[in-house]
Amino acid sequence: MEDEPINIVLFSGTEDRLQAAAVMASGAAALGKKVNIFLQYWGLEAFRKDRISTSLGLAPEAGARGAALVAEAAKAGQQPWHATLRVAKELGEIDIQACSLSMDVLKIEEEDLDPLVDGVEGVTAFYLNAGDGHIIFI
């Protein structure tokens, strides 16, 4: 396995997509790969201290049936996306950065964000850290 990091650009802010990102990060961490996550727009919004544990909804494709199935999974014990991400962060090297442009547009200050977020950076730093690793857009 190459030593390149897995890089996730997290643009989406619904629970299902955030969970998907957390799963992708977890799998990489379990394999010992470094993970870089870049939070843009609604993905960044979801990491606000006052939003992270709230109900963030599902992607439109879910519909009523999808919503019921997701609720069932949660009831059966599946942990929320931020818990999955916290566990993954304990397991491996996961660096979560807020996109500075999104910070400006959404008028977010660093202290507004959950401690899961490690800092703020621009797209250039993200690409530099991404190296030759895969970039996943969620």
Binding site: G27, A30, L31
Partner: protein, 78 residues
């Protein structure tokens, strides 16, 4: 059945992807090279995950059995 001593058992029964592998990786971190780790899972989808994880990390998948819907994996820390 292996007669060698299992150093740690991870009970991942009832947990869905990615938790069985995440818990396995966590447990493996705390083991010394050569030690055996046993994982119990009810997630059918994780069977391929364990073989893949073992291959990718160099930890050996020593045994893999299934009984009554419970998958049992024995891995050796490299």
């Amino acid at each position: 059945m292996s007669t060698e001593q299992i150093a740690q058992i991870v009970d991942a029964k009832g947990l869905a992807c990615p938790m069985p592998i995440v818990k396995t990786a966590q447990a493996a971190k705390g083991l010394a090279p050569g030690q055996l780790l046993e994982v119990l899972s009810t997630d059918a989808g994780s069977t391929k995950d364990f073989a893949a994880w073992a291959k990718a990390t160099g930890n050996e998948l020593v045994e893999q059995t299934v009984e009554g819907g419970v998958y049992r994996f024995v891995l050796r820390k490299k």
